[in-house]
C-alpha cells in the first residue's frame, strides 16, 4: 500500500492549511477589488494590482457538480462508491471536495452543503447543510 495523497503546503497556501488544522475554512479576498480568490495565489487574477488578504469563509455553499466514483485511484479503492463534488461557496469561488454524511444516491446538484473538516490527512470535506 502506497501513501494516500496528502497536501503539501507552500508559502502562499500555508494559511489555508493552517486554517484547516484549526478547523476554519479560509479563502483569499482582494483588498482592491473585493473579489474572492481560490485556489490561493500571490496576485489577484481579477484586477492585477490588488493585494490578497485571508478571510474566514462562511463554510456554506451548494453542490455545483458531482460524480459518484466507482473506479477509484489505487489508494481509494476500499472506499467506493463515494461522491466527489465541486462546491460553490457563498463567496462565489469553487472548491473540489468529498461529500460526507450523505448516501451517494442522495446527492444532487444545487444541494446546500457546509464544510466538515476532518480525517487523516485533515481536509475540508463538505456535508449536507443542517
Amino acid at each position: 500500500m502506497t501513501e494516500r495523497a496528502f497536501p503539501v503546503p507552500d508559502a502562499v497556501t500555508q494559511p489555508f492549511w493552517d486554517g484547516v488544522a484549526e478547523g476554519v475554512l479560509r479563502v483569499q479576498r482582494c483588498v482592491a477589488c473585493g473579489r474572492y480568490v481560490f485556489y490561493p495565489r500571490a496576485v489577484c487574477p481579477h484586477c492585477t494590482t490588488g493585494e490578497l488578504e485571508w478571510v474566514e469563509a462562511t463554510g456554506a455553499g451548494v453542490v455545483h457538480a458531482f460524480t459518484i466514483v466507482h473506479r477509484a485511484p489505487p489508494d481509494y479503492r476500499d472506499q467506493v462508491p463515494y461522491a466527489v463534488a465541486l462546491v460553490e461557496l457563498d463567496e462565489g469561488v469553487r472548491m473540489m471536495t468529498r461529500l460526507v454524511d450523505v448516501e451517494p444516491a442522495d446527492v444532487a446538484v444545487g444541494m446546500p452543503v457546509e464544510v466538515a473538516i476532518r480525517g487523516e490527512p485533515r481536509l475540508p470535506y463538505f456535508r449536507p447543510a443542517r
Binding site: 485556489y39 466527489v84 463534488a85
Partner: protein
C-alpha cells in the same frame, strides 16, 4: 496557404515490443512518403508527449533532422491540432516549408495509465489531487453532471454517441473495437464515475501518427491532392477543473470561432467532423462550443443515431477515441481522418462529396481546445 500533404498512423492497438519513438518514426516515414518527401526535406518539427523532455528535439534527432522551426507545445491531447495551426503560421511567415507533426505512445503495452497518484501533492494538486477523483474521467463526469442538471441531458443521449461511433469503427479495419453495441449495452456497462459508464470512455491503446504540412509551392506537385488549412484557432480556459469558468462551455467556443472566422465559413459548411471523443460528454460539449447546435441542445442533436453512418451529421468517421484508437493524446488522429475524408480515401466509411472537414482537439480536463478547418481544391 499551407496544405496537409501526408498523413499516416503507425501500428495501432497493442504494438509491443515497439516503443513510442519507433511508432512516430514509422508514421513519419509513411506520411512523408505520401507526400513524395524524405526526412531531409523536413525543416520544421512539432511533437508533444512521447517519452518526455523536449519531444521535438527527440524526434528530430532520431530522424536526423536539423529544423529551422521547432515546437514542443503541450496543452494535452489538442496539441497536434495546435501544431497544425502553428505550422500554417510558420509557413505563412516564410520560416519553413515542410513541417512534420508526430505523436506516439505505448500506454497500453506499458500499462502506464493510472487513475491517480499517491503521496505528497504540490501546487494545484494539493487542492485537486487529494479527493480520490480519478483522472481524467472524474472531471469529465463533473461536467456531465452539470450538463444534465442544466439541460436535462440523459445517459441515453450520451450513449447514442458511443453507439454511433462504434458503427463507424465497424467500417474501419484499423479500429480496435468493431463489434456493434446498443444504447442498452452502454447503460449496462459498469459505472466508472457516474454519470459515465465504461462505454462512455475512450479506449486505452498504443499508437502513433504523423502529419506533414507544406507550403503552397511545395503543394503544387504532390502525389496526392493537397488538403488546405483554411482556418485554425486555439485556446484554453483553465488547467484544473475547479477553475473551469463554465463547466458546460469548452474552449472550443473560442478556437472554433477563430477557425471559422479565418476560413470565412460557418458550421453549416462542414461536411465531416472529427472531434476528440475522450468521453461521450466531450462530444456533446464540443458540438455546442463549435456552434453545430445551440447551447444545451447537443443531447437531442445526437439522438436517433444522427452521427452514425447514413445519418445527416457524419462524426468521428474513423471510430474515434471511443472505438478506433486512443493512445493517450488523440488529437493527431482527428487531422489524419479529416484529411483522408477530403481525399476520398475512406472506402466504406467515406462521406460522399466531402469538401470541408473540421478537426478539433481537446486537452487536459476540457482545458484546451484547438480547431482546424480543412478544404480541398
Amino acid at each position: 496557404m499551407a496544405a496537409i500533404a501526408g498523413v499516416a498512423e503507425s501500428d495501432l492497438g497493442e504494438v509491443a515490443p515497439k516503443n513510442a519513438m519507433q511508432l512516430q518514426a514509422e508514421a513519419a516515414r509513411e506520411a512523408l512518403g505520401e507526400a513524395g518527401l524524405t526526412f531531409a526535406d523536413v525543416d520544421a518539427v512539432f511533437s508533444a508527449g512521447g517519452d518526455g523532455f523536449a519531444p521535438s528535439m527527440a524526434v528530430a534527432e532520431y530522424l536526423g533532422i536539423t529544423p529551422r522551426f521547432t515546437d514542443s507545445t503541450n496543452i494535452g491531447g489538442s496539441s497536434f491540432v495546435v501544431h497544425a495551426g502553428h505550422a500554417h503560421l510558420a509557413i505563412q511567415a516564410g520560416l519553413c516549408e515542410v513541417a512534420l507533426i508526430t505523436y506516439g505512445s505505448t500506454q497500453r503495452s506499458a500499462a502506464s495509465r493510472s487513475l491517480g497518484r499517491s503521496g505528497g501533492m504540490r501546487g494545484l494538486a494539493q487542492f485537486e489531487g487529494v479527493w480520490g477523483l480519478p483522472a481524467p474521467v472524474g472531471p469529465y463526469a463533473l461536467a456531465a453532471s452539470r450538463h444534465m442538471h442544466e439541460h436535462g441531458t440523459t445517459a441515453e443521449q450520451l450513449a447514442e454517441v458511443a453507439v454511433a461511433t462504434r458503427k463507424w469503427a465497424s467500417l474501419n479495419p484499423k479500429a480496435f473495437m468493431r463489434d456493434p453495441i446498443t444504447v442498452d449495452d452502454v447503460l449496462a456497462s459498469r459505472w466508472i464515475a457516474q454519470p459515465l459508464h465504461l462505454l462512455d470512455c475512450c479506449l486505452v491503446t498504443d499508437g502513433g501518427g504523423a502529419v506533414v504540412v507544406v507550403s503552397r509551392e511545395r503543394a503544387r506537385d504532390l502525389p496526392r491532392s493537397p488538403v488546405w488549412i483554411l482556418g485554425h484557432g486555439e485556446s484554453h480556459t483553465h488547467l484544473g477543473i475547479s477553475s473551469m469558468p463554465d463547466l458546460t462551455t469548452t474552449p472550443a467556443a473560442h478556437s472554433g470561432a477563430a477557425a471559422f472566422g479565418m476560413a470565412g465559413l460557418t458550421p453549416a459548411d462542414v461536411d465531416v467532423t472529427e472531434l476528440y471523443d475522450s468521453f461521450t460528454i466531450t462530444v456533446l460539449l464540443t458540438l455546442e462550443a463549435l456552434g453545430f447546435c445551440g447551447r444545451g441542445e447537443a443531447g437531442p442533436f445526437v439522438s436517433g443515431q444522427r452521427t452514425a453512418p447514413g445519418g445527416d451529421f457524419p462524426l468521428n468517421t474513423n471510430g474515434g477515441g471511443l472505438s478506433y484508437c486512443h493512445p493517450g493524446m488523440y488529437g493527431i488522429f482527428t487531422l489524419i481522418e479529416a484529411t483522408r475524408q477530403l481525399r476520398g480515401e475512406c472506402g466504406p466509411r467515406q462521406v460522399e462529396g466531402a469538401s470541408v472537414a473540421l478537426a478539433n482537439g481537446t486537452g487536459g480536463v476540457l482545458s484546451s481546445a484547438a480547431t482546424v478547418v480543412l478544404g480541398r481544391d
